[in-house]
Structure formats: C-alpha cells, structure tokens
C-alpha cells in the first residue's frame, strides 16, 4: 500500500473550519476520491470508500487503540486494507459505509445532547464521548471487523516498533548474547 507524502501548507480557511473537531478531523482535507492531511504531509487515494468514511475510520482506529506517540499515517495504513477489500466486495463496502453512517448518527445525537451542536463522529472533540459510542456498538460486526483488522494491521508495522522499544529481528545481529540480554541492574 502507498501513503503518499505531500508538501502542502494548511490555509486559514481550512484551519477555521476545523475548530471543535478531533485533531485528525481538523487536519484532514477531503477531496474527490482523496484524503489529504497537509500538516502531516501524507494523503491517500481511495478505490471504494468515500473519503469522509475513511477519515472517520482512521479516527475510530485511533480511538480503539490510542497510542499518542503513533502518528495518524500508521492508523491510515492499517485502514487502507478495508478500502482494498471494499473495491472487490460490495457487502464489505456496504458494511463499512453503513457502520460509519451509524457512528455519525449516534455522534450527532450526543452532540445535540451535550450542546456541541449536531455533527458527525469527527466533530466530537472529546475521546470519552467517542469511546462511549464505540462501547455501545462493540459487539457489532462493523466494530469487530475494525478492531480485528487493527490487531495485525497496526501492530505488525515495523515502523512503529521502535516507539514501543521493540527491536524486532535479532538473529542477523547475532542475537542479544553480546547485546544486552541481561543488562538491567535495578533489581
């Protein structure tokens, strides 16, 4: 998969329109078949999902497995597989689009109740509000498909392993016998 690197600035209009949204929601610019995050220098072209749907899924992915040191593009990369699957599978595509529509409808209700105004999932600025919605739908096929795909799709990206202190393959370096297998001295 390819997450394209960009070199664009954020204009003032984009910024103003973004107030009250999630950080990701504020940073994303949605175009025809594309999703771009200029401030983070990446974007993606979509084959099947609506860009707005993908944007919401990326936020949802972060809300399911929130790692504040892991950049959005890694969650985007994990979600990209759903777009690929959706391109050849109408049932999956409908399940994802319907799932996100349901999420946005629930978010709109919460927004009205809490006085944030109506809007979608990306307009709920507090993680706790979004997570409460996810708890309500966690037994759904949509949520389980999202969570299940993330377990491998997110954590098996070698690029994020150093953020967790995991060093990965070691045999080509001779293992750890000379590289700290017993180096702690605090116990």
């Amino acid at each position: 998969m390819k997450i394209d690197t960009l070199n664009q600035g954020v204009n003032r209009r984009d910024f103003l329109a973004a107030s009250g949204k999630t950080a990701l929601g504020a940073a994303m610019v949605v175009g025809a078949g594309t999703l771009v995050v200029p401030s983070q220098g990446w974007g993606m072209e979509l084959k099947s999902l609506k860009p707005e749907t993908m944007a919401t899924m990326i936020q949802m992915a972060r809300d399911i497995y929130p790692h504040d040191r892991v950049a959005d593009k890694y969650y985007a990369k994990a979600m990209r597989a759903h777009d690929d699957t959706g391109a050849g599978d109408a049932d999956t595509l409908a399940m994802l689009e319907d799932g996100v529509a349901e999420l946005n409808a629930r978010a709109g209700k919460v927004g009205m109740e809490k006085g944030y105004g109506s809007g979608g999932y990306l307009d709920l600025g507090w993680e706790a509000d979004r997570v409460a919605i996810l708890r309500d739908i966690e037994d759904s096929g949509f949520f389980q498909a999202m969570r299940g795909s993330l377990v491998v799709g997110l954590y098996n990206q070698k690029a994020i392993w150093p953020l967790f202190g995991y060093e990965g393959a070691s045999a080509h370096l001779g293992g750890y016998v000379e590289r700290g297998f017993d180096d702690i001295d605090w116990v």
Binding site: E167, S170, V177, F181, V187
Partner: protein, 522 residues
C-alpha cells in the same frame, strides 16, 4: 532395504508426524536397523529458513487447516478457528516449543489414587510410574541436552528472569532457577550454544534449542533406514479383513493420493489430528473409527491449566531479549489440596514480541486500558503459568460438520474448564501477581489462556482396555500393529511441559516395537 522406500513395501514402519514423538521414534527405530518412513503433513524448512518475525513465522510454521471450536473456554470466542498453536512442518511443534524439559513428579503418575474422586473428572492412574520411566527420562535428557542434567550448566538468566527471580525470592520461593531447558548452554552435539535471540517460538535459527528437525531426523536419515516424506498429509489408515492395519492413504503436495503400505503404523500427529485421523478412518468393520472399541478416541482432551501474568515497572526490562522461557518457580507444583485444588502448577518466564503481545495480552480488549499496557512494552516482565488440568470425558475432539481442504470432516475442539482448573488459575494469577508486586510493579495484567500449545490425552493410556485407547506401550488395545506415539497417549497431564515425557515414551516405545517385530508378534 534402504531409504527411500517403495509405496508397496509392506515391511516398513510408517510413522505419521515428525515432532517430539514421531521424529524421536523414527530415529530410534532407524538406529536399530528398522526400515522406517515418516509421513509429515507439512513442508521441510531448515533452521536457516526460520523467520525472526512473529506473524511471518506463524504463516510459515503454524497448522492453519480448518478447525472448529466449542465449549465455554475463552479461546472458542477469541480464536474460534485456532484452538491450538501448533506446527505443520518437519520437526512438528519441536520447531516452535520453548524447550522446558521437566520430569513428572512421582504423585502425578497416579492421579486417581493420589487425588481421589474429583467430581466431574475422569481421572485415571497411568499404567506406568516414575521408576519405570526413570531410565528413559535419563536417555531423553542426554539426547536433548537438558540443562541442569548430565552435568550441563544452567542457561544464564536474561532480564525477564532477573525480575522474576528477585520477586520470587522476596516472596520466599526456593525452587527458583533458569530451568531444565533443552537449549544448549554450551556447544553440544554439533550445535552451538544459545545466542539469546529471543525467537524460540519462531524456530531457533541457531539450532541451539533441541528440535527433531536438526537432531533426530538427520541422525536417522544418516543410517539409510529412515525416509522422511514431507508434504505427505495422511487422510486415512487402512486395514485388512483380519483387522490389522496395512498402510495409509495420503495426499502429496499437489493433492495426488497415494497408499503407503506398512507392517506397523504409529500415529504421532498431536492430540487433535491423531484422534481425528482414527475417527476419519472408520469402516464397516470399525464403525466408530479405528482402535475405538472403548469409545475413548478423542475424549478426555486436556490442554493444561494455563494463564499468564504480565507486569509493568518504572524502569526498562526489555524482556523480549534472550531465551523465551528460561526461568521457573517450582514451589507451587506440589500436590497440596489445602490451596483449594488438586495437583499443582509451574510458573515460567515468558516474553512475546510486540505483535503477539497485542494479539494475546487481552484478546478483544481495546481502549486506553489496553494501550497503556502496550505503551509500556519495554518496561514489561512476563510469566506463563502451566498446571495440571482435570481430564473430562466431555472435553473432546470430534468430527465437525465443517470440511478440510481434502473434503474430510475437520476436527472440532470442545473444551470447558473444570472447577479445579478455575481454582488453580485464580491461585496462580494471585501468586504470579505477588511475585511482580514484590519488586515494585506499577501495573499487573492477569492474562487469559492462549490457543493451546499442550494438547494431550485424546488417545489415553490405560491398564484396562475399556478406559482408554492404548496400553502401557502406546500400542492400541484393539489393533496390535497400530501405535500412538504422541501426547495424546497421556493418561493425565501432570503440571509439567509435556515434551520430555513424549520423547521418553517414544524411546521406550521404540524398544518395544523392535522386540515385538523380532518376535513376529507384529
């Protein structure tokens, strides 16, 4: 005759499976000059082809054929198509195992006698005991190069062990050490010492950990009396009108089917596939499957009482570095009903890489509670808990309505915990947590069982033919020239990791098969 053998050669012993049981039996028979063919369902991946990457290795080695699950165990919900984490490759699960090599304790051979009647449990005494097994254990420990036996020094403790040992000793535990491990602590038997790579479960690229793949199998092949046929997936064991087995039907890597004739057949496909093969071999003469007059084929499935404890500290541990399981506390392995359960358990160090930690720490878990644990990955220590579980007739391998790639009924794995298993697990979670709390853990995580690695008991050994499938030699009660050579023979599970006992039984069984062949009894 010499290897390779003709399909129509009916003088050979055919062994189904090349792991701890099958690989060892094959070499032992070949060393005695007996013509032997091992049929292995998986491919042959030599040590240098192993992959230091958890998911990629899983794709290379794991048995991923169709399986279904039922029962109230959490694995049936979290991993419904993956009841067990075992291997389909030459070397079987000895490529993947951690290397822990413990003898049974004396009382464990006679669980029924020593534990008494436990409601809902189908306990039985083994028809053999520790004294009878001692010489075979000694041979196996020497063969496998087990540390702390035969003058072999212990492995050095890694970071994960240091934390574990300090906590255990503060708690007052006394039997704390780096284990009896079939991992070279010094160069031995043509293999190097442990390089602390941290990928024991993915196949040891240094061959420091004993596996039949690069010990028993090449030694057997060197005699000219052992042929190992990879990608040969056995579908059915065949018999004649007298009820003797005559050969096996298998599919090669292209799906073409062949019959390999045999004088003796030994089944060693692990405790899910072995009973499934016997059940799938039903005929008009053996309507309930081969060797199943007792109705016990597939019953009494055991998987050990297991659990894990992971703990987070305010300082780094880097527990993924070094030997995956070289650390043990044995004080709780005794039988002491005052703790509220019969039998005992071992606590053993364990580390997973980040990808598998994400999959197994709390399957189905999500949100900040989950991710705050993973965020502290390099500050984590971990242990696995393994104890004796109660055999129950209702825990069983049966034929599923689902079909495998050959159109044969897939196995269904049904398991529910016994109350004794639950009581033992809760005790073990408390003690494991206490070990880490004793050295200043800031968070602890009682982690549920993973897909089974210790699959046992589904063709169990019994003195009386009505209670089990095989006799004290692993010979089926019903058919003289049909043997079972893997962990499915286990009458009860004991608290210990089973491989050393499987290997010891295979060495002993080879002596018996050779004697019976020379006396023309089989």
């Amino acid at each position: 005759m010499a290897a390779p053998y003709d399909l129509n050669d009916d003088s050979v012993v055919v062994i189904i499976g090349s792991g701890a049981g099958g690989g060892t039996l094959g070499n032992e028979l070949a060393q005695k000059g007996i013509d032997t063919v091992i049929l292995e369902a998986g491919g042959r991946h030599e040590a240098e082809e192993f992959i230091n990457d958890e998911w990629a290795s899983f794709g290379q080695l794991a048995w991923l054929d169709k399986r279904t699950t039922s029962g109230d165990w959490r694995v049936a919900k979290d991993f419904s198509g993956l009841p067990a984490w075992i291997v389909k490759a030459v070397g079987g699960s000895t490529t993947h195992w951690a290397g822990a090599s413990l003898r049974f304790q004396e009382h464990e051979w006679k669980a029924k006698t020593n534990y008494g009647d436990v409601e809902g449990a189908s306990l039985l005494d083994w028809p053999i005991d520790g004294e009878e097994m001692a010489p075979y254990y000694a041979k196996a420990e020497d063969k496998m190069g087990v540390t702390n036996t035969n003058g072999i020094p212990p492995l050095p403790g890694n970071n994960n062990y240091k934390v574990f040992e300090a906590g255990a000793k503060k708690l007052g535990y006394e039997r704390v050490h780096t284990g009896n491990m079939a991992i070279n602590s010094q160069d031995r038997d043509g293999r190097t010492s442990c390089q602390q790579s941290g990928f024991c479960f993915q196949g040891c690229k240094f061959s420091a950990k004993w596996s039949t793949l690069y010990t028993e199998i090449p030694k057997g092949e060197a005699t000219g009396k052992l042929e190992v046929r990879a990608n040969a997936h056995v579908l059915q064991i065949q018999h004649d009108d007298s009820g003797k087995v005559t050969g096996v039907l298998y599919a090669d890597k292209d799906g073409n089917q062949h019959v390999q004739k045999a004088r003796v057949v030994a089944v060693a496909g692990n405790s899910i596939e072995s009973p499934r093969l016997l059940l799938n071999s039903e005929t008009s003469m053996f309507k309930d499957g081969l060797a199943n007059s007792s109705g016990m084929v597939g019953k009494n499935y055991m998987r050990h009482m297991t659990a894990s404890v992971y703990a987070v500290f305010d300082k780094p541990v880097n527990f993924y570095r070094g030997t995956t399981m070289a650390g043990i506390v044995q004080d709780e392995s005794r039988h002491d009903p005052s703790r509220g359960f019969v039998g005992g358990y071992e606590m053993e160090t364990l580390a997973l890489g980040l990808p598998f930690m994400a999959a197994f720490l709390n399957p189905g878990g999500w949100g900040r509670e989950f991710t705050s644990a993973l965020d502290m990955y390099d500050h984590m220590a971990g242990m696995w808990i393994v104890g004796e579980d109660m055999p129950q007739e209702s825990n069983a391998i049966t034929l599923s309505d689902a079909k495998d790639q050959y159109g044969l009924p897939a196995p269904n794995v049904h398991f529910s915990d016994h109350a004794n298993d639950v009581a033992m697990r809760n005790h073990a979670w408390r003690q494991g947590t206490a070990i880490y709390d004793a050295v200043g853990a800031t968070a602890t995580y009682p982690t549920p069982p993973y897909p089974s690695t210790h699959n046992l008991g589904t063709n169990r050994m019994s003195a009386d033919a009505k209670d089990g499938v095989v006799n004290k030699w692993g010979q089926t009660h019903d058919i003289a020239n049909l043997f079972v050579s893997d962990g499915s023979q286990f009458t009860t599970g004991a608290a210990e990791n089973p491989t050393l006992t499987i290997v010891s039984l295979a060495i002993r069984q080879a002596d018996y098969i050779a004697e019976q062949m020379s006396q023309k009894n089989i």
